[in-house]
């Protein structure tokens, strides 16, 4: 893949920063007064260095996606603050939100669900431009074609529908839509999961190319530790709504301090070795 991660700059002023971010989900039973409280986020302090790829790892239900939704301003945190380019943004009004949203974009895991099945590829990519009033009429289509080319899709496919694309191509479409508004910050919520290895590598290379051409900051949410180890500049480990450890991947993978990080790494190794044994067993 030819990816170097050591030469990236050290932490400057963070592009995005959270302090004491907390979010609870309360479920009420309809037949009793009992409440079930789920602490999705507990006092999350996270700093995202500009131009870097920060990876967020953790088991299912550890709060990764809730954190992503809060950072993407899709959900409001209960407590704590989010700073973006130095400004507090978690308590913005609708008007401020409208100017902020284009700068923060998200690419989802389920590429089929993330694209409106009734729209054509061109309409999908042009959608944010139209919503934000950045282009109209013929320009929308032209811009959509340019963006398709930029993510490695043929502009001839501009009238195809999502169901006529492969999984990897759909993810490229989703990326084209995400960069259409020229954001500064891109959240990749398990965007590489569910793709086969070679497609994963292609999409990853595309993302890394875009990172340099568009000066993008990434937050990659993943459960694939080997992938994270290769591409991340920083890693944050989450468990039960808390960030239990963060640092460079070299440090975290070589000397995990928190027991949960060690568990994660071990379980990863156990699966790998089990996979190898199974393969060896199948061949003999």
């Amino acid at each position: 893949m030819g990816i170097e991660s050591a030469a990236k700059p050290e932490v400057k002023a963070a592009l995005m920063r959270t302090r004491g971010l907390s979010k609870q989900f309360v479920q009420r039973s309809p037949f009793s007064r009992k409440k079930f409280v789920i602490d999705a986020l507990v006092d999350v302090d996270l700093e995202l260095a500009p131009g870097c790829l920060t990876a967020l790892v953790g088991e299912s239900g550890s709060g990764k996606s809730t954190l992503a939704s809060c950072l993407a301003l899709l959900e409001k945190p209960d407590r704590g603050g989010i700073w973006f380019e130095g400004n507090e943004i978690s308590r913005c009004d609708a008007e401020e939100l409208a100017t902020l949203r284009p700068k923060i974009q998200m690419v989802f895991q389920d590429s089929a669900g993330a694209l409106n099945p009734r729209f054509s590829a061109g309409q999908i990519i042009a959608e944010p431009l139209e919503i934000q009033g950045r282009a109209t009429g013929r320009n929308l289509r032209l811009r959509a074609c340019e963006l398709m080319e930029e993510v490695g899709l043929s502009p001839d496919w501009v009238d195809r529908r999502p169901s006529q694309f492969s999984g990897g191509q759909r993810q490229r479409l989703a990326i084209a839509r995400a960069i259409a508004l020229q954001p500064a910050f891109l959240i990749l919520d398990e965007s590489l999961s569910g793709l086969d290895l070679s497609t994963q590598a292609q999409i990853l290379n595309l993302l890394l190319d875009l990172q340099t051409t568009h000066a993008l900051t990434y937050l990659l949410i993943s459960h694939d530790l080997s992938l994270v180890g290769q591409v991340a500049d920083f890693v944050a480990v989450m468990q039960q709504g808390r960030i239990v450890e963060q640092g460079t991947p070299q440090k975290i993978f070589a000397h995990p301090e928190h027991p949960h990080t060690r568990d994660l790494l071990n379980s990863c190794r156990v699966i790998e070795s089990a996979f190898r044994t199974a393969q060896a067993g199948g061949r003999s």
Binding site: P102, A114, R118
Partner: protein
């Protein structure tokens, strides 16, 4: 349009099946229109037998069915014994009245159900949503007949609206605007009953469909692009939730038809309902068959309409 052609052929086959079953079941029922005449001492059994053979009732079932199909192909739907008139002219007037009632009720029910369902879905879990859900549960649980009788009771007590029939006495002497007003006043009660009966299911389906779509990542993505609330709900979410609703639209026409038969009888609305009831009781067989066929035709037209809408509105169906 291969898809629509296939649908039309299915429809024709279905109508044939309905007609066969209609004949079969009416033959299984004991007695015929002329059996009551046998009890009358003034009518000789020869006369009854002559009438039976004149109307072809002495023939075997397959022969009668064959004759019926042939005459329907010529546009003749048979003859009503009770009304002493051709079934066709009888049906046309009745079917027109039923269509007026049901199409109005369907249109109104959907015009309320779509905004209400979308709105409650967007306010999920808040008091507006809970209140609407409680209301729809109530009307789902209470039988249509009780709603109809309760409403009728109120109308009769207050005398606010005409409580039955389709037009007032002396309708023919009114001016054209007054005629329209009179008809509209007579429509209020039956249409309201029909709407109340079908609305809860429609609202719940619209709401459930919208809730499913609103969770989809592409809706989250659109929110992330800073889309307006109404555009999101009506331009993005509603079309994505529309396909099952369009199929439901076809079904709702069918449901309203069967519901309207009941309401027509209660309200004395001169539609297919009372006609079918009277004809069944007096074994006026060709009227029964004709009315059932007309209902089946409406039902098919409803689902055909839904199919056409699907093709027009969903680019994916066209591609396939």
């Amino acid at each position: 349009m291969k898809y629509l052609e296939r649908r039309v052929i299915h429809g024709i086959l279905l109508l044939l099946g309905v007609s066969v079953l209609c004949f079969l079941f009416s033959d299984l029922a004991p007695g015929s229109f002329f059996d009551e005449m046998k009890l009358n001492p003034q009518i000789s059994s020869e006369t009854v037998a002559a009438l039976r053979s004149q109307y072809g009732l002495d023939q075997s079932l397959p022969v009668r069915y064959g004759r019926w199909v042939k005459s329907v192909a010529r546009g003749d739907w048979g003859y009503s014994f009770a009304y002493n008139a051709p079934v066709r002219s009888l049906l046309i007037v009745r079917a027109r009245n039923t269509l007026l009632l049901t199409s109005l009720a369907t249109l109104l029910a959907w015009m309320i159900a779509i905004p209400l369902g979308v709105w409650t879905a967007s306010r999920r879990g808040r008091w507006e949503d809970r209140l609407t859900m409680a209301g729809t549960s109530f009307f789902l649980a209470v039988p249509e007949l009780v709603v109809a009788l309760g409403f009728l009771f109120w109308v009769v007590r207050t005398r606010a609206l005409p409580a039955g029939g389709m037009v007032s006495v002396g309708f023919d002497n009114l001016g054209s605007w007054a005629k329209l007003g009179d008809l509209a006043a007579h429509l209020v009660v039956p249409v309201t009953i029909l709407v109340l009966a079908s609305l809860p299911i429609l609202v719940r389906h619209v709401r459930a469909g919208m809730l499913g779509v609103l969770k989809a990542p592409f809706i989250q993505a659109a929110r992330g692009h800073g889309i307006g609330r109404l555009t999101l709900l009506f331009r993005f979410a509603l079309p994505a939730a529309a396909n099952p609703l369009i199929s439901l639209f076809g079904l709702s026409i069918a449901g309203l038809l069967s519901g309207s038969l009941l309401v027509e009888v209660i309200m004395g609305w001169p539609g297919l309902g009372p006609l079918l009831l009277e004809a069944s009781v007096s074994r006026d067989i060709y009227v029964v068959v004709g009315a059932v066929m007309a209902s089946a035709l409406f039902m098919l037209m409803g689902s055909f309409l839904a199919d056409v809408m699907l093709v027009l509105l969903d680019p994916r169906v066209r591609v396939e």
